[in-house]
């Protein structure tokens, strides 16, 4: 897991994971191992930014890195770094960053909240306010608590639901393309 070829292979696995659904051919299933839930989540994290528009004062540009931050317990390990490696968004290189607390999130575009305790999540979201950070988590009830994107498992498929109001409160505009593939879109959240 350290070194070029290994990480490239991991990246490949993450990319191909996109196609592991009901339509994947049985022969392919036999050939490649099924990517883990967190590999898929890491891949999704690398793509969310592409369907979100940040407010006028905070447009994504190539002048600064596009930070994908992880707060709290990190379920990805190197998976996120592998998924983001070499990826750019509007010219900005994507970088995985671990942050200690909500006060440390100033440069973050996306914040993945690793904690699953609702009080903790609530506190983090509250302290973030409407900072223009796309919040993502797989904590149950995340969107109900005011989070924007929550990973959910549908069978063995990783999917997500969206709290559109929360995003709008933070000045983020989500693309209809993103909403289209979400399992649920909340428009009235706390």
């Amino acid at each position: 897991m350290s070194g070029g070829p290994a990480s490239r292979a991991l990246h490949f696995l993450a990319a191909t994971a996109l196609f592991y659904g009901l339509n994947a051919g049985p022969n392919l299933r036999a050939q490649a191992p099924k990517p883990t839930e967190y590999e898929v989540q890491a891949a999704y994290l690398s793509n969310f930014g592409r369907f979100v528009e940040w407010p006028a004062g905070a447009k994504v540009t190539g002048s600064e890195p596009f930070n994908v931050c992880v707060l709290g317990p990190d379920p990805f390990g190197l998976l996120l770094d592998a998924a983001l490696k070499g990826e750019t968004i509007f010219g900005a290189p994507m970088v995985a960053k671990r942050v200690a607390g909500p006060e440390d999130t100033s440069g973050c575009r996306i914040l993945y909240i690793g904690s699953s305790k609702s009080e903790r999540v609530k506190a983090i979201l509250a302290s973030l306010g409407t900072a223009g950070i796309l919040t993502v988590s797989d904590a149950p009830g995340f969107t109900k608590l005011g989070g924007m994107i929550q990973f959910v498992l549908e069978g063995d498929r990783v999917r997500f639901e969206i709290n559109l109001s929360a995003a709008q409160r933070s000045g983020l505009i989500m693309s209809s393309e993103l909403l289209k593939v979400a399992t649920a879109v909340r428009r009235t959240g706390q």
Binding site: L18, F19, N23, Y44, V158, F160
Partner: protein
């Protein structure tokens, strides 16, 4: 088309018109239809490309967030395009992500058409190709500069085929109607062109068949080449007619002139003959006197005369006898000219035998081999014919005198369908250089010292043969014998024809 070669020019013109207009029309229609079809194909590809772009753009999030249902929904919108038989969204690894098939379970939805991505555009964003039953278009799905998948759309060619059939129908109708119109128009128009030619041909045929140059082809209504041809043809006929008339007049004139000349010649000839006859006749009386008195002188004074005088006297007597013969021959020749022919069927064989018998005194002591072949029975004057054979056989006897044995042959042969009687000998012959003089009066090819004669015999023979409407000629070589040939009217045995 080969069978048309002998058709009339009218049919040829019609065919030609129809063929030309039909071919031109077919070519134009085909070119137009071809251009339209190509245009339609381009439009078809463009439409399919647009649809592929739409599908690709709407499938980006579905691909990135693994939502085949969303992609399927996008694909399902293709239902609105009835020609699209199959569409598929494929992941970056080429694996089918979501598919759409117009006719589920139809062959097009088989794994072959779904699973592999044949010739996915490498380096290009789009490729298309036509298959037996459709158009396949493959386009890369790009999202924010990154290739995330491929869309493949297969369209049937029903529209193309429908349009092709439509064009074929229109073209056939247009060509058919145009050919019909061409046929009608050309039937009308060819009358103006073909009729004068046909009339010209008919006139030419009639002229050459009936040889009447007074005919004229009907004037062509137009001043085109055919009109010129007709006028020229008629002028030519006029010229031929003029020449014909002039030729006929010249011939008539010539005939008249010949007849006139012949009459003059005949008159002169008759005068000449009567002159010859009277001279010969009148010469006879003084000759008789000279002869009579010379003989009297010899009888009365013969004994008293010395040898020299007697020799002179003998010479005179000899000369008078020869002159007598000459006069007799000339009278005979003149007689032949004046005499009328008494034709009757005559056996030349018996005449020939008579002549040989008559020649017995001359042939006494000679070794002569007679080869008397069969001679025909012919219509002729027997007396005159006997003179002919007598002269020819006497000549043969005379000019074979140096030969031992002499061979004299008579017979008949056929030359170019004509009966020819010949008398041949192995005598001294003559030089063919002088053959033209042979039958002239007083013409002799040999010295009198060698062979006696008056030079009148062959002239008499020729005159008799000519009088019978025949010809006579000779073939000979010096010392190689001579052969005389003559023709005499066709043999009509048993028929008297006294003219």
């Amino acid at each position: 088309m080969i069978g048309i070669r002998n058709h009339s020019i009218r049919q040829k013109l019609t065919w030609m018109n129809m063929l030309v207009s039909g071919a031109a029309l077919l070519l134009a229609c085909t070119a137009f239809a071809g251009y339209e079809m190509e245009d339609f194909r381009v439009a078809l590809v463009r439409n399919l490309s647009i649809q592929a772009q739409i599908v690709g753009a709407n499938s980006a999030s579905a691909l990135l967030f693994n939502d085949p249902d969303s992609a399927r929904n996008t694909l399902a919108a293709l239902k609105a395009a009835p020609d699209i038989l199959f569409a598929g969204v494929y992941g970056a690894d080429g694996v089918a992500f979501a598919t759409y098939s117009r006719d589920r379970g139809a062959p097009l939805a088989t794994p072959e058409s779904v699973l592999p991505l044949p010739d996915a555009p490498a380096g290009r964003t789009e490729a298309h190709w036509f298959t037996m039953d459709g158009l396949v278009l493959v386009r890369a799905i790009e999202f924010q500069g990154k290739r995330i998948g491929t869309v493949k759309i297969q369209s049937g060619l029903t529209a193309l085929r429908d349009r092709l059939i439509g064009y074929a129908g229109i073209v056939s109708v247009v060509v058919l109607v145009s050919l019909l119109a061409a046929f009608v128009f050309s039937s009308i128009l060819q009358k103006a062109t073909a009729r004068p030619i046909v009339q010209l041909a008919e006139t030419a045929r009639a002229v050459s068949r009936e040889k009447t140059y007074s005919m004229r082809a009907p004037e062509a209504p137009n001043e085109d080449e055919i009109g010129v041809l007709t006028v020229a043809f008629n002028e030519m006929l006029g010229q031929i007619q003029e020449r014909d008339t002039a030729l006929q007049a010249a011939r008539d004139e010539l005939e008249q002139r010949v007849a006139r000349r012949t009459a003059q010649l005949e008159a002169v000839n008759r005068e000449l003959e009567s002159f010859t006859y009277s001279v010969a006749h009148d010469l006879r009386a003084p000759l008789r006197h000279i002869q009579g008195f010379s003989e009297a002188l010899e009888e009365d004074c013969g004994a008293r005369l010395d040898a020299d005088v007697r020799k002179y006297l003998n010479s005179i007597l000899e000369s008078t006898r020869r002159m007598d013969r000459l006069i007799n021959d000339l009278l005979g020749l003149a007689h032949v000219g004046r005499q009328e022919l008494h034709l009757r069927a005559t056996e030349l064989d018996s005449i020939c035998r008579d002549v040989v018998r008559d020649l017995a005194p001359e042939t006494q002591g000679r070794n002569i081999e007679w080869r008397l072949g069969h001679l025909p029975v012919v219509d002729c004057d027997p007396g005159l014919m006997k003179q002919v054979l007598y002269n020819l056989l006497a000549n043969a006897v005379k000019y074979t005198r140096p030969r031992d044995p002499a061979v004299i042959e008579t017979g008949q042969t056929t030359l170019e369908g004509e009966r020819v009687i010949f008398v041949r000998d192995n005598g001294v012959g003559f030089n063919m250089k002088y053959a033209h003089k042979l039958f002239g009066v007083f013409e002799r090819l040999h010295r009198r010292e060698d062979f006696e004669g008056t030079g009148v015999g062959l002239a008499t023979v020729q005159r008799i043969v000519h009088k019978h409407g025949g010809r006579i000629w000779a073939e000979a070589g010096v010392d190689r014998g001579a052969a005389f040939f003559f023709t005499v009217g066709s043999p009509v045995p048993g028929r008297n024809r006294d003219a």
